[in-house]
């Protein structure tokens, strides 16, 4: 019997560092010896750039438009350490339907049994945005990704996007859809930023799998068109990504998150706004938890591991 492919979807608000994080996870998993495919699901089609020296690759949808017929194997390109790179692609901004584009591209790969034939260990979908329509939910539906991780900073809009994602996961959770592995906290350099993400994780009954600091090493790597794992493999930042990848490799049980509803999210954000103001004015933090709601049980990572990146 064929081995089980671990399929993971990584979501997050645009510009939050999702592709950077995803590419570094792919790179780290590949250096651990796994066969990895990274599947960019963003019309910008730049998810895999840092795995390919900064190059853009022809996308599934552009190829489909030009040729009318696509053998999925023709739109897979080798990246760093033989990672299989795919970009779904999509329409130009303001036209067409990007969500349908993702459905078309992912369906094409599934119909042609590509994942099984390549004998992959991991397929990682790097998905834009906050699940605004059925197309962006495609990777979390039944039979596609099993585990979802969301990249989020402490920025409110980023958390809003994560909360929307949780709603999508909750919707598909009882029909065999993907469940939540946890939050990858990105650009965490201030203690309060970690507290905000921690509190959101607590309120929604999930966990933070890693804290990734903002780092100039990442910028330097990306300017070279590389992941940090490739450009600065011995750096502290590379270790952060390697630890994150290892944690994802070890991860087995995901959960159904408990997203906040609109008023609860606004209330929670408003209390944190007060808290941040208080920090700025007096340096005295105020507790900012949302009124208690029943929380599902979740495994939390040991406190000793939380300190990894801070």
């Amino acid at each position: 019997m064929a081995k089980k492919i671990k399929q993971i979807a990584i979501y997050g608000k645009g510009g939050i560092g999702k592709s950077t994080t995803t590419s570094n996870i792919s790179a780290a998993l590949s250096t651990m010896g796994y066969k990895v495919m990274q599947f960019g699901c963003d019309p910008k089609s730049d998810s895999t750039n840092t795995l390919r020296g900064g190059d853009y690759i022809p996308t599934v949808l552009d190829t489909l438009r030009e040729k009318g017929r696509v053998d999925a194997r023709d739109v897979i390109f080798p990246g760093f350490n033989d990672i299989y790179c795919v970009e779904a692609g999509g329409p130009a901004p303001g036209v067409g339907c990007a969500g349908r584009g993702i459905i078309t591209a992912v369906t094409l790969f599934r119909q042609q049994k590509v994942f099984e034939e390549l004998d992959l260990d991991y397929v990682i979908y790097d998905v834009l945005g906050d699940v605004v329509c059925g197309g962006f939910a495609m990777p979390i539906r039944e039979g596609i990704a099993e585990h979802v991780f969301t990249v989020s900073s402490a920025d409110f809009m980023s958390i809003y996007a994560a909360n929307n994602l949780f709603k999508g996961i909750e919707k598909y959770s009882n029909t065999g859809g993907a469940l939540l592995g946890g939050i990858i906290a990105n650009s965490i350099n201030q203690p309060y930023a970690q507290e905000i993400v921690d509190d959101f994780a607590k309120q929604t009954g999930t966990q933070v799998v890693s804290y990734v600091p903002r780092s100039v090493t990442v910028t330097q790597s990306e300017l070279q068109g590389k992941t940090t794992i490739e450009a600065f493999p011995d750096s502290a930042q590379a270790k952060v990504y390697t630890d994150l990848a290892q944690r994802i490799a070890n991860h087995t049980d995901s959960i159904t998150p408990a997203p906040l509803d609109g008023p609860a999210l606004r209330n929670w954000a408003s209390k944190w706004a007060d808290n941040l103001l208080a920090i700025e004015q007096s340096g005295t933090p105020i507790s900012a938890s949302v009124p208690a709601t029943p929380l599902p049980t979740t495994s939390s990572i040991p406190a000793s591991e939380k300190a990894v990146a801070v």
Partner: protein, 486 residues
């Protein structure tokens, strides 16, 4: 490419088989490029409407007796329902059976499109089961559900424990393919994934895929000579019959376009041999086909005996008819599973193929091979002019005007009416068995002669019809509005 039964969706003909809807050239070029994999498609800068793969796929499934087809779509997409329901009831009545199949639309509206409608869809499925107790329920996708990403697969999964009959999601979103025959494949996928069970034994049945089973009695009679019994698909099929398709001795299809997916899927997954010869139209086709069936089911002796007996009966009559048909100039427009079979029969009978049009073209079938009819034609010296045109009527009328054939043949009634309005005698070969076997050759040949000898109908209709095309258009080449090959 292997057939994937783990998915509810199946690739379109364009993507799976490299099928095209735009081409103009000669048979030899089409066949050669099909073999070497260089055949591309020509888009058009102007296009008349064609047919949707949704109505094709869902109507195939609605032919099965006592099932429910739920078209999850705006009401306009279900405008085909009365036609489908009427046809299926007529087919059942003709055969002396009853069907309680229902075809239902979910009437998606603005709100359903904005907010999604899987909730109401579930309620509709429950209500359909409560009211009609169908033996299976097929839920069809539409352009709207495709665009909004409506997850009908999860609806099926969710209801599976609750509703005790097979359920299947049918991915026949209208915009996914220009080729309506892609609908045959999604219907086959639904049958294969939701109804067909693994074999427990080999039966004495052969699966016989066809459209309207008009030659049912004749075929049952022929196959009784070889000790096998045909199961006709899908019009008037029952769910019980379909569950046992995997146990048959072979799968046969009256049309290669119709049968490729089911035939190859049953062979690949359950070892049921798929008969891949030229089709049983005309003498050569019928005999080649019968001999292959005889070989596969181990009854070659009986097949040879049958052929000898029938030849003695019919060949003298066919030879006589040939003399009368000799030199008749023909243009034809049909699906590719017929165009390149009927052309063979026409040439066999001494007629001249002036132009052959096919509504699409599959450069290969699901086993990866070029359709056998193509090689057969080429090997026998054919090299007629042809076009691949998805029922682009303006091209057909241009061709008819240019070549002024003695007769136009089509299997789709709308196109023969237009030919007649232009004054060209036309014969609609809608019945898939019209040219089947020796008797079919006689039936067909005589119909051709009747059509061209009684010309008052087209003369009168043409004199009273005003066609929409300008003189300018008739002066152009028929492929003038095709773009560069992709």
């Amino acid at each position: 490419m292997s057939i994937n039964l783990n998915e509810s969706s199946v690739g379109t003909r364009e993507n799976r088989l490299g099928s095209i809807t735009g081409y103009s050239g000669r048979l030899s070029d089409l066949v050669e490029r099909s073999h070497c994999g260089t055949l591309g498609n020509h888009e058009r800068c102007f296009s008349q409407s064609s047919t949707c793969n949704s109505s094709c796929g869902l109507s195939q499934l609605a032919g099965i007796r006592d099932v429910a087809v739920i078209n999850h779509a705006p009401s306009g997409c279900t405008a085909v329902a009365p036609g489908i329901a009427t046809l299926d009831r007529q087919m059942a009545t003709k055969r002396g059976v009853t069907t309680d199949t229902v075809f239902i639309g979910t009437d998606m509206d603005e709100q359903d499109t904005v907010f999604g409608a899987t909730g109401p869809l579930k309620d509709i499925v429950r209500e359909i089961y409560r009211r009609y107790h169908p033996r299976a329920i097929f839920i069809g996708a539409s352009c709207v559900t495709g665009i909004i990403g409506e997850d009908i697969d999860s609806v099926v999964d969710d209801l599976r424990d609750e509703i005790p009959v097979p359920l299947a999601a049918i991915h026949c979103e209208g915009f996914r393919s220009r080729i309506w025959a892609s609908g045959f494949d999604v219907a086959d996928q639904a049958v294969m994934t939701s109804l067909v069970k693994p074999p427990k034994q080999r039966s004495n049945k052969v699966n016989f895929k066809n459209f309207f089973e008009s030659a049912r009695d004749e075929i049952i009679d022929i196959f009784s000579n070889f000790d096998v019994e045909p199961t006709f698909l899908y019009v008037n099929s029952t769910v019980d019959e379909l569950e046992h398709l995997s146990e048959a001795q072979a799968t046969i299809s009256i049309c290669g376009t119709l049968g490729t997916y089911l035939g190859n899927a049953l062979e690949e997954h359950y070892g049921v041999p798929y008969i891949r010869t030229i089709n049983p139209l005309g003498v050569t086709g019928f005999e080649t086909w019968l001999r292959e069936i005889g070989k596969v089911i181990g009854k070659s002796d009986k097949v040879e005996a049958y052929i000898a007996q029938e030849r003695a009966k019919y060949l003298p009559q066919i030879e006589k008819l040939k003399g009368e048909l000799e030199g008749i100039r023909v243009v034809l427009g049909m699906g590719p599973g017929y165009t390149f079979e009927v052309t063979r029969v026409l040439e066999e009978l001494g007629m001249e193929v002036v132009w052959a049009a096919a509504w699409h073209f599959d450069p290969n079938y699901d086993n990866g091979a070029v359709p056998p009819s193509m090689d057969h034609l080429l090997k026998n010296g054919s090299d007629f002019k042809l076009s691949i045109t998805d029922q682009q009527n303006y091209e057909i009328l241009n061709i008819l005007d240019h070549y002024q054939p003695d007769i136009y043949l089509s299997r789709h009634p709308g196109t023969t009416v237009w030919a007649i309005k232009q004054g060209v005698p036309a014969l609609c070969v809608t019945d898939e068995y019209m040219i089947f076997g020796y008797r079919g050759v006689l039936r067909f040949g005589n119909s051709v002669l009747d059509t061209i000898r009684n010309r008052s109908f087209e003369k009168n209709l043409a004199a009273r019809s005003e066609l929409p095309y300008t003189d300018w258009w008739y002066q152009q080449d028929a492929d003038a509005l095709m773009k560069e090959e992709l």
